[in-house]
Symmetry: C2
Subunit: 133 residues, 2 copies
Amino acid sequence: MAEYQIGDGIQTTSVITQKDICEFAELTGDLNPIHIDDEYASSTRFGKTIAHGILVAGSISKTIGIDYPGVGTVYLEQNLKFCSPVFPGDELTTSVTVLEIINRDKKILKLDTNVKNQEGVSVIEGYAIVMAP
Amino acid sequence: MAEYQIGDGIQTTSVITQKDICEFAELTGDLNPIHIDDEYASSTRFGKTIAHGILVAGSISKTIGIDYPGVGTVYLEQNLKFCSPVFPGDELTTSVTVLEIINRDKKILKLDTNVKNQEGVSVIEGYAIVMAP
């Protein structure tokens, strides 16, 4: 059994492509043109298409479920603040770090969860509560 | 310009299939066997594969971005409590309701966001903060 400590964690990297965004749009039905229509997006404050926030949050869920704490983790809660847009091709670094051990016996942890782009700008900040394996 | 009132909102329905779950797993890299491997899943407390929580949350994001408040909404924050598992084929009802008008001039709203399955069991509870169009 792993022993979890405050400050433990992991970083993972990923890139979201326009193809990923289009697939997520089809999957969820979220066909908002800001995500999939270059011409519409160019007329908005963002100037180009942006990824769905929840698709970007998928990098947190993947990091928790696969990398740390990893397979067997039960996801109880996720808070997400969408700080900045994510554009196709952005290189994202997702960090998951133990903030608090809520219940050591049940291995319930509060994790800091954040995603930054290649310029170090936070695109998502927030936390998760999980039952670790 | 729409005038938003506490209690306004919408309900949408959707079904998440095993195919959707497999596509989301590929898209995010979250290939946790609890989501995609029937044999592994049958040995867990759930007894069968379950959808990724963040994929289910996509139904909230879609409802906000497409249905209410709809296209042009800027997603600022989302809190998600994963209350119960979602199984392939579950029929989900997603409700988005204005809880609070945080800033009427800037149209910043706090929305109650919840998802229930066909038995009326809450699978996600939480809230969003958005800037409405």
